[in-house]
């Protein structure tokens, strides 16, 4: 399959890209930064997913070079606004909403146009357990993920007739740079509320995505799957 993953320079996106390349898929990754994966099945594009022109160009090249894509994993996200609302600057909030929601929207919009033509596609958006826990200091990040989840459900209804499913996966906490600014004590308190009270790994995320993109999951759509026993 041809799998497009956003945010593959580091963190979860990089691990997903490496896994799917090694499993024999063609992975087309992107991030603002340079390529950090060496694999014959990997192709990297450096651009910002909030820039509409770059997103259009990316999909135009993808159509010419690969004839389209089978899977889009909207993984890239930032958390620039980790503070109580009273202390969040406009730009911190806007850039977080822009990357997490607008970027995912733009990528999905252009991806489904190509998927429609092939009458097949899988869109996987990355959610977060933050939406369930509504933690203080995470209002903007949580709102951006709640917006992604709302879009997931509605988009699923719009594209099912074209053979496209659209789901979200919401991982538990996984050790990446995104977690750097999270207070470990507060995180432990949150994790203790889960059925699985420890940090998650990319492994269970990969297993879930593998199932969602399989032919067997062709009637699983408009869902948000929480990992970690949330």
């Amino acid at each position: 399959m041809v799998i497009v993953i956003t945010g593959t320079r580091k963190g979860i996106g990089k691990e997903l890209a490496e896994y799917f390349c090694n499993a024999g898929h063609i992975v087309i990754g992107c991030s603002r930064g340079e390529k950090s994966i060496e694999n014959v099945n990997y192709e990297h594009h450096s651009f910002d997913i909030t820039d509409e022109k770059s997103v259009k160009l990316f999909f135009s090249q993808l159509r010419k070079n690969r004839g389209g894509l089978d899977v889009l994993i909207n993984n890239a996200a930032v958390n620039n606004a980790l503070a109580p609302v009273a202390l969040v600057s406009y730009n911190a909030a806007a850039s977080t909403m822009n990357t997490n929601f607008m970027g995912s929207f733009l990528m999905a919009r252009e991806a489904i146009k190509l998927m429609m033509k092939n009458s097949f596609g899988r869109v996987i958006n990355m959610g977060s357990m933050a939406v369930k826990y509504e933690e203080k200091g995470e209002a903007i990040y949580t709102a951006s993920k709640a917006a992604v989840l709302a879009m997931t459900k509605i988009l699923a209804k719009e594209v099912y007739q074209y053979g496209i499913t659209c789901n979200a996966v919401s991982p538990s906490a996984i050790k990446t740079d995104l977690m750097d600014n999270i207070d470990p004590d507060a995180l432990n308190v949150v994790l203790k509320r889960n059925a699985i009270p420890e940090m998650g790994t990319t492994k269970e995320l990969i297993d879930t995505i593998n199932w969602l993109i399989s032919p067997q999951a062709n009637k699983i759509t408009a869902q948000n799957i929480y990992l970690g026993g949330v």
């Binding site: 259009k56 146009k113 033509k117």
Partner: protein, 99 residues
């Protein structure tokens, strides 16, 4: 790209979408044919299919990358998504800007 060529390509694609969706349309297909609303043979799925196919045809055949449902289209007093004529006019505007 002349206006007539654009209109002809839009009409051809309109007919293709109607055929592919298994529908029939008895009226003549010309600039006044509605692509949206109760008068149109298109339902919402046909309209999306049509607009996406138009964008891809414009890119493949004429080498212009356009987004038909852009901000300007949404804010026009006469929507480009009304008839074959209005969408053809809008395509002409977008192409001219890139020439």
């Amino acid at each position: 790209m002349t206006k007539v060529e654009i209109e002809q390509a839009v009409i051809n694609l309109f007919k293709q979408v109607i055929t592919n969706s298994g529908k029939s349309y008895d009226g003549t297909v010309d600039n006044n044919t509605p692509i949206m609303g109760a008068e149109s043979p298109f339902d919402s799925i046909d309209l999306v299919t049509f607009i996406v196919a138009l964008e891809q045809m414009i890119e493949d055949d004429w080498s212009f990358s356009v987004t038909l449902a852009d901000d300007r289209a949404m804010s026009q007093t006469i929507s480009p998504f009304k008839t074959i004529g209005t969408i053809s006019d809008y395509i002409e505007v977008l192409i001219k800007e890139q020439q």
